[in-house]
């Protein structure tokens, strides 16, 4: 099924309520007391039965965090976060370590079912996607584990990886995003609770898409997951990430860290459909999505590709990046960011070219409606050794209505004459001609907007794995509801 073939389904979906993931799961939780201090960090670490080195690392991060200031350079505004008024750990009771899916609380399975992520293996899309489900602070289930283990793929929660594969974790954690990297990443390093861990062994093309589904449920809880993916020599993996949260009036903080490492000839494809609760029309509530994602192409001829569709969250601050160390390595960033109502997004990428003949491509599509602000911020940096490096960047903005803003802030720094960097950007609106043409053929104005916007985003959407593309197309329509009068 192609993307095109699904547009009709999408239009049907336009009728659904605005944020259908806004429900709350009623489940007995174990929660750490509010506040952030060394004891809380020790509590989290003890809860996870972590080795000393990790606790020390967390404490080091925490102490460093205390010396840092919250960044204010992004084009976003939000009320000051009271870091002492949050819970840093919340987990459903009695699910600490379910051995198999049968042991998982049925209420949780039910929740993921409602989110469209059935955790029963036989119901998953003909066995091509393995899912790690993260509920607030803990991973509640991972499917297809046995099958993956057989092939040598490690796919589990990061807590489990710390226990089962401490050497691997120790070697790579913080190696791409050091604990001192930035305010939110440092906070995450101190208090991260769960997330996914993937290791794909030498020479293996992982035949399944691996997927993590993040769900914030508990109130006043920050979600700090940490994901680490390593593709060894010649390995390939495609990883999908989805996120939702209940509809709440308060803002909730999500400060995740994702680290990717590719060795020689390896490839990681990382796709995100971010649909955290965006807040209501008036900007009340919604998730603060302050995320650090970075990949290191350590090996020669390796490749990291980020694709993101960002439709949710009240505030997004996120720059999935690639450090192109290995010669001939490739970095890609494909992004659709939609902001409506009072949403704000400041997102983009960094492509750091270190190795020879490294190549990067950046395609960013920003759509702004309502009173929203949408900023592309990207850095392309060519270092002296990056002989023959190439970058192509294209960022297009679409404005719907005249109360919103679209901004493009590219930074281009080149120190090698043989490198070639190209940047193009345009800003446009949906023309009256296009709207009238579509409506003359019978499309409603909302369907016309959705169609035109999907066309505008096409270069990015085609990078998404099929299962995600369908969902993402629907989301685009839904998130722009009410944007045309």
């Amino acid at each position: 099924m192609s993307i095109d073939a699904n547009t009709a389904d999408r239009v049907k979906e336009l009728e659904v309520d605005k944020y259908k993931y806004g429900f709350v799961t009623d489940i007995e939780m174990e929660t750490a007391p509010k506040g952030l201090n060394e004891d809380i960090i020790r509590f989290i670490s003890a809860k996870k039965e972590e080795p000393d080195w990790l606790l020390e690392w967390r404490l080091k991060a925490y102490r460093h965090w205390l010396t840092m200031d919250e960044p204010d350079w992004a084009k976003v505004g939000y009320d000051k976060i009271d870091y002492q008024d949050l819970h840093y750990y919340a987990a459903p009771k009695n699910i600490d370590r379910p051995k198999s899916l049968d042991e998982v609380d049925p209420e949780l399975l039910n929740t993921y079912e409602k989110l469209g992520i059935p955790l029963k293996e036989q119901e998953l899309l003909s066995g091509v996607v393995a899912v790690d489900a993260v509920f607030d602070s803990v991973s509640v289930a991972t499917t297809y584990k046995a099958k993956l283990t057989e092939m040598g793929v490690i796919f589990c929660s990061i807590s489990e990886a710390v226990r089962e594969y401490p050497e691997l974790v120790k070697k790579y954690i913080g190696s791409v995003v050091p604990y001192s990297d930035n305010y939110f990443a440092t906070l995450n390093s101190a208090v991260f609770t769960d997330g996914s861990f993937v290791y794909v062994p030498k020479g293996l093309r992982c035949p399944m898409e691996l997927s993590t589904y993040f769900r914030i449920n508990a109130e006043n809880t920050g979600q700090f997951e940490r994901t680490l993916i390593i593709a060894d020599d010649g390995a390939y993996v495609s990883y999908l990430e989805g996120c939702t949260a209940p509809q709440r009036d308060e803002n909730q903080l999500h400060a995740a860290v994702v680290e990717l490492v590719t060795l020689d000839n390896a490839e990681i494809k990382y796709s995100t459909v971010q649909n955290w609760y965006p807040g209501d029309e008036n900007g009340k509530g919604g998730i603060y999505n302050f995320v650090t994602k970075r990949g290191a192409c350590r090996g020669e001829n390796s490749k990291i590709s980020w694709t993101q569709v960002e439709t949710g969250s009240a505030v997004t601050w996120k720059y999935p990046s690639c450090i192109l160390q290995g010669d001939n390595s490739i970095g890609e960033f494909y992004s659709v960011a939609i902001t409506n109502n009072a949403q704000q997004a400041d997102t983009g990428t960094k492509m750091i070219h270190l190795g020879k003949n490294t190549r990067s491509t950046v395609i960013s599509k920003g759509i702004s409606a309502g009173r929203a602000d949408n900023t592309y911020r990207g850095l392309v940096k060519i270092l002296p050794r990056a002989e023959g490096a190439r970058n192509f960047t294209q960022c297009d903005s679409l404005l719907i209505g005249n109360k919103c803003g679209a901004h493009t802030v590219p930074y281009i720094e080149s120190r090698n004459p043989s490198a070639r960097v190209e940047h193009e950007a345009t800003t446009s609106k949906i023309s009256e001609d296009q709207m009238f043409y579509c409506m003359q053929r019978g499309l409603s104005s909302e369907a016309a907007v959705s169609l035109i916007v999907n066309g505008f985003c096409k270069e990015v959407m085609k990078e998404l794995p099929m299962e995600f593309a369908v969902e993402a197309q629907k989301l685009i329509g839904i998130s722009l509801e009410g944007s045309v009068g």
């Binding site: 005249n402 493009t408 720094e413 080149s414």
Partner: protein, 443 residues
């Protein structure tokens, strides 16, 4: 706001002495007040450091640590003609920031332009110093303006009468002269309704001089006027030049700005244009050529505050040796500025593996019915082009020179005044020969 360099920096001593300089030329207290206000403002802002967004790529640390002094003299027998634009036109000469009548020649200027200086300015011209600017200020303030005020040496007031149209350009020549002297000047331009004039600035130094110079222009372009504003920045290779041109443009007016930057160890040309009414055409273009360890910064800000105006911005640079180029361009479109047509292009050519370019072409847009685009490219000469020329029998050296000349020629072609386009084109061609292609190192 940001003071990584404490007030103990040597340059600050100079600021203190310049701002505290007692009233001179019988100008009374008001000039001292301006200087003191400028000094206080500058100290409040602090020396701009790379931590500030609009100074991210230009570091003034070295400048702050250099000791300058007030010029002892403005006596200079003759102009260093080989450093200034070779054009036969009425000229005003400033030596170390002060008007030098003996070297100036305004006999051909015509009756539609009035020029005053500190000595003979009128009360309302004095009031211009206090005018508030309504344009958006960068978060970091405008340190160049504050610094310029603090050490102010001289000012020019150029008033173009409504309807006055002239083909003869007015050449303002600012010469730095001395060893470690510091000076600043201000140029106020008021272009009356439907007037048409071209201004040309040369900023250069007497051979062997080392100086710090700052120039701030405040330009007011009335409805229907057309002002060409062209600048050749060719300071000596040990000197520092910090300039700011602030322009406010009214309905149906045309502003054609071009800066050619080739001199100084460090230079920054900041151009800030405010479009206040419909029908405006605002062009802010530039070319730069950096060799040895020069640092050349072009920073622009074009603000569309009214609907139906057009802005165009093309910058091209050539960087060799250890030179570093900086381009920061921003188009800001207010919500009411519908139907804005904005275009911005920055290209840089790196000719050496030690050269560096930092480019930040930025759009900030709050109106939906606009056409704004920008682009940037960085790279070296195309092998294919070089080969083509060589295949036609042109030697490698000449082929490179031709290609670089053509490369800069494209942006010089943006200049609307034919006389000045041709003059600067010749200047660029000579400079390329002198600075890039006929040097003893045989490059």
């Amino acid at each position: 706001m940001n003071t990584s360099i404490g007030p103990a920096a040597p340059f600050n001593d100079f600021i203190d002495s310049a701002s505290g300089e007692s009233a001179h030329e019988n100008l009374g207290e008001w000039l001292s007040e301006i200087k003191e206000k400028g000094r206080d403002e500058f100290y409040k802002l602090g020396w701009p450091s790379p931590k500030l967004e609009s100074w991210r790529y230009t570091n003034l640390n070295k400048l702050a640590k250099t000791q300058f002094r007030l010029p002892q003299t403005t006596e200079l027998d003759k102009l260093p003609c080989h450093n200034i634009i070779p054009i036969d036109a009425p000229r005003i000469v400033l030596i170390n920031g002060k008007l030098k009548r003996e070297l100036s020649d305004l006999s051909e200027i015509g009756e539609g332009i009035f020029i005053n200086s500190f000595q003979d300015m009128r009360d309302e011209q004095r009031a211009l110093f206090c005018l508030a600017n309504h344009a958006i200020l960068p978060k970091e303030g405008l340190p160049i303006k504050a610094l310029n005020d603090a050490i102010l040496s001289g000012a020019l007031f150029i008033e173009i009468m409504p309807g006055w149209q002239s083909d003869v350009p007015l050449h303002i020549v600012s010469i730095g002269y001395g060893d470690h002297v510091g000076f600043s000047s201000k140029i106020f331009v008021s272009a009356g309704e439907n007037s048409q004039v071209n201004l040309l600035e040369t900023h250069a130094g007497d051979s062997g001089s080392t100086y710090f110079s700052s120039c701030v222009s405040n330009i007011d372009i009335k409805a229907g006027a057309r002002l060409g504003h062209y600048k050749f920045q060719n300071d000596t290779n040990t000197s520092t030049h910090l300039a700011l041109a602030q322009t406010s443009i009214e309905a149906d007016a045309v502003y054609d700005n071009f800066v050619m930057s080739v001199g100084g160890i460090l230079s920054r040309n900041e151009v800030r244009s405010l479009i206040t009414a419909p029908g405006v055409e605002c062009c802010v273009n530039g070319a730069y050529l950096g060799t040895s360890n020069q640092h050349i910064d072009n920073t622009t800000f074009i603000e569309h505050a009214a609907e139906g105006s057009k802005s165009r911005e093309v910058f091209k640079g050539v960087l060799a040796d250890h030179a570093k180029g900086v381009f920061q361009g921003k188009i800001f479109v207010h919500p009411e500025a519908q139907k804005t047509d904005g275009y911005q292009m920055n290209r840089a050519l790196l000719l050496s593996d030690k050269a560096e370019i930092d480019s930040k072409p930025e759009l900030e847009i709050y109106a939906d019915d606009v056409r704004c685009s920008h682009g940037a490219t960085v790279g070296e000469l195309e092998e294919e082009h070089l080969f083509y020329l060589k295949a036609r029998g042109i030697d490698a050296e000449s082929a490179r020179r031709l290609l670089v000349e053509g490369y800069l020629g494209e942006v010089i072609d943006e200049i609307q005044s034919q006389v000045i386009r041709e003059t600067l084109s010749k200047v660029a061609s000579d400079l390329l020969k002198k600075k890039l292609f006929e040097r003893s190192d045989g490059r």
